[in-house]
């Protein structure tokens, strides 16, 4: 018996080893090597274009079927549920027409309608809540997670979807997971090795190479197709790089182009191990839980790092939380107080191939990574903006807003004043005063027409891209409110 089982065992091993070794050879040749070296672009763009054509076809079929049934397709609008017309200012609405600007307005029972409507509009659709859920798509990308029209799918579409499912979970996902695991283990091994070298210059040179390799492998494991713009503005040593935050993958995307020093809390478990490995070979700034509370300590460590011109630039995400990549929310002023050069970077993801936004309240990190790896691809554009410095007479908050506006303009995102922390906390009560002030001006304080006209002119000059939530807060109120918000 034993020789028989031994023979079977032998045969089994030999049979299995051939496909496994073939698998690994293929992997090495076609994926790891190009990944390390920087990738082949023609195949990728072909892949993307084919996918886009398929998506358009799928959406067209759904529309045709919906028409057959005489029903409306659930059209997703990136603008939301309500038509966003030009927001009438409180003055215009309540007074009725611009011509009676001079006469005093008497209180009317109908004045309440304005507030009522604004309130209901924000219940139905507001600028902030929708930033914390995934962006809606115009055409279906064959992923169940972004479909709203289940009952318009016929046999052909289901077949296509099934094929897509098989490709994604059967081929793409295992490939990517293997790549990721190989990449991370290799990275950890090499950084530890490099950490043992005595020669500092050699160590920093090699560690840079190792880090870049690690990041590039992670990028390929997600099939992230990144386009870098304005590379001449790439961050230099001795500064801080700020970017808008959508997902933890942002770090990998930026770091595969040049090395940064990361800032963050020291975690436990696998992430903590990775963090400790990274520190051995290059200067990252990890804080213990207790140190995070101490703002001065944090600021001191950051400024020490920045003052040393040989050290890499620090990468910081001032929003403090993940936003869904349609807007940029309030930047926390901490990193803008240090007084060094800021290198702004705008990152914009293309949601058609896979939504990169991490909704931390809906799913954990591992689930998120798996769903990233089972999307078609992660396509994004990175714009390096010219460096900015704090100007004379500008305080940290104004500087932060200036940088935020530049990033929003470049990436085609909406610039909001709201705090990303609103995901979890409530709005400051002081915002209410703004509207009350305006309404009282309409009713009572009308005598200084001159100053009012000047105020509206100032308002127009300074906030050309106001959105509905902030439109009726005059400039002075806004500065007051923002100041309160930050203390």
């Amino acid at each position: 018996m034993p020789p028989f089982t031994w023979a079977v065992h032998n045969l089994l091993c030999r049979c299995l080893s051939i496909p496994i070794s073939a698998w690994f050879t293929l992997l090495c040749l076609f994926i790891i090597v190009p990944a390390v070296l920087g990738g082949c672009f023609s195949i990728r763009s072909l892949y993307l274009r084919t996918l886009l054509k398929i998506f358009e076809w799928a959406t067209l079929r759904m529309e045709m079927r919906a028409k057959e049934k005489n029903q409306q397709l659930y059209k997703t609008h990136t603008n939301g549920i309500i038509a966003k017309e030009l927001p009438a200012s409180l003055q215009q609405e309540i007074r009725g027409s611009a011509s009676c600007l001079c006469s005093d307005h008497e209180f009317d029972m109908a004045d309440i309608f304005y507030f009522c409507r604004r309130g209901v509009e924000s219940i139905v659709d507001d600028e902030v809540t929708k930033r914390f859920s995934a962006q809606e798509l115009e055409s279906w990308n064959l992923l169940t997670r972004s479909n709203y029209n289940f009952h318009y799918i016929n046999m052909r579409l289901t077949l296509l979807w099934g094929l897509g499912l098989l490709t994604r979970y059967g081929i793409l996902l295992p490939l990517r997971v293997t790549l990721a695991v190989t990449g991370i283990s290799l990275f950890l091994f090499l950084t530890t090795l490099v950490g043992f070298l005595p020669n500092a210059a050699l160590r920093s040179y090699l560690s840079e190479k190792v880090h870049m390799m690690g990041y590039r492998m992670c990028v390929s494991s997600l099939t992230a197709i990144i386009t870098y713009h304005n590379r001449e503005n790439k961050p230099k040593n001795g500064g801080i790089c700020v970017a808008n935050h959508t997902t933890p993958i942002d770090v990998i995307i930026l770091a595969s182009d040049r090395c940064y020093s990361l800032v963050g809390q020291m975690h436990r478990g696998l992430l903590g191990m990775i963090q400790r490995g990274m520190v051995k070979s290059s200067p990252h700034i990890w804080f213990d839980r207790s140190e995070v509370k101490d703002r001065h300590l944090v600021a001191k460590r950051l400024s020490d790092h920045v003052a040393d011109k040989t050290k890499q630039p620090i990468l910081i995400f001032p929003e403090g939380t993940c936003i869904n990549n349609t807007s940029v929310m309030m930047f926390k002023k901490g990193s803008f107080e240090i007084g060094c050069t800021i290198y702004p970077v705008a990152i914009k993801y293309d949601p058609r191939f896979g939504d990169a936004f991490w909704n931390s309240s809906k799913c954990g990190l591992v689930w998120y990574l798996l769903s990233m790896m089972s999307s078609w691809a992660i396509v994004c554009s990175v714009w390096y903006l010219p460096p900015m410095n704090r100007e004379e007479g500008e305080d940290a908050v104004q500087f932060a807003n200036r940088v935020k506006a530049a990033i929003a303009a470049r990436g085609g995102l909406v610039d909001l004043i709201w705090d990303g922390g609103l995901k979890r906390a409530k709005v400051n009560n002081a915002f209410k005063e703004g509207l009350q002030k305006l309404y009282s001006k309409v009713l009572v304080g009308d005598h200084e027409d001159q100053s009012e006209r000047m105020e509206t002119q100032e308002k127009k000059k300074i906030q050309p891209q106001d959105n509905e939530d902030t439109v009726n807060v005059c400039y002075h109120c806004r500065v007051l409110l923002l100041k309160e918000h930050f203390t």
Binding site: Q72, L73, Y74, H77, N79, G80, I81, I82, A83, E85, E93, E106, F107, D108, M109, A110, I112, F113, Y114, F115, C116, R117, R118, G119, V120, E121, S122, I123, V124, D126, V128, T129, K130, T144, R145, S146, Y148, F150, H151, S361, K362, L370, S371, S374, L422, K426, V427, N429, F431, K432, E433, L435, Q436, K437, Y439, S440, L443, V444, G445, D469
Partner: protein, 194 residues
């Protein structure tokens, strides 16, 4: 993988709701999505603090009253059908509704809109806006920006203009009469995208 999206089957009594409110099925789906995104703990109903996190509402001087309008009849939860029924008040008024012969009045009719606004003033729901209730609303809308005397004079003027039977309070009919020339439709309508 992936979260399941809403389909018409998930909305209870969808046909009935569409009939009673006048929303199309696409609108209902969107509102259902909105309901779910406001209901962050996935309980199937909303409570007042789910509304209070909305920036636009917290900033609104009468935000608290609008929230209360959703929680009428003493309950502290609102389910999806009640949510939609209240929001239906803000649909634009359908002018050609009556040709089907349905006797049921839609929430978006002029009278119903006025009734909704009336309830924002009339907190104790006794059918009349007393001087004190008017003052409360004015205080909410103006805050500390005006003096108490100014508030009193504004309230006085408003009551004198609208109060026809001189009982020092404004009933619903008097309210309707004082606004008969006003274009309620645009002021009290939220333009839902098709």
């Amino acid at each position: 993988m992936g979260s399941s999206s809403s389909s018409r089957n998930k909305i209870p009594n969808a046909q009935e709701l569409m009939h009673q409110t006048g929303f199309s099925s696409a609108h209902l789906l969107r509102l259902h999505d909105r309901f779910e995104s406001l209901d962050r703990d996935n309980r199937g109903y909303l409570s007042p603090d789910d509304f209070e996190v909305l920036g636009g509402l917290a900033m609104n001087p009468i935000g608290g009253r609008i929230i209360e309008a959703f929680f009428s009849s003493g309950q502290d939860t609102v389910d999806f059908s009640s949510f939609v029924r209240i929001l239906a008040h803000f649909r634009p008024t359908d002018r050609n509704r009556n040709k089907e012969g349905t006797q049921q009045e839609l929430p978006s009719s002029r009278t119903r809109k006025l009734k909704f606004a009336f309830q924002l003033y009339d907190l104790d729901r006794d059918g009349k806006i007393s001087r004190e209730e008017l003052l409360q609303v004015l205080r909410a809308m103006l805050g500390l920006q005006v003096t108490e005397e100014q508030l009193q004079s504004i309230a006085e003027r408003a009551i004198q203009e609208a109060d026809l039977d001189k009982d020092d309070a404004i009933s619903f009919d008097e309210f309707k009469k004082s606004l008969e020339k006003m274009d309620i439709d645009t002021k009290m309508s939220v333009s839902f995208l098709k």
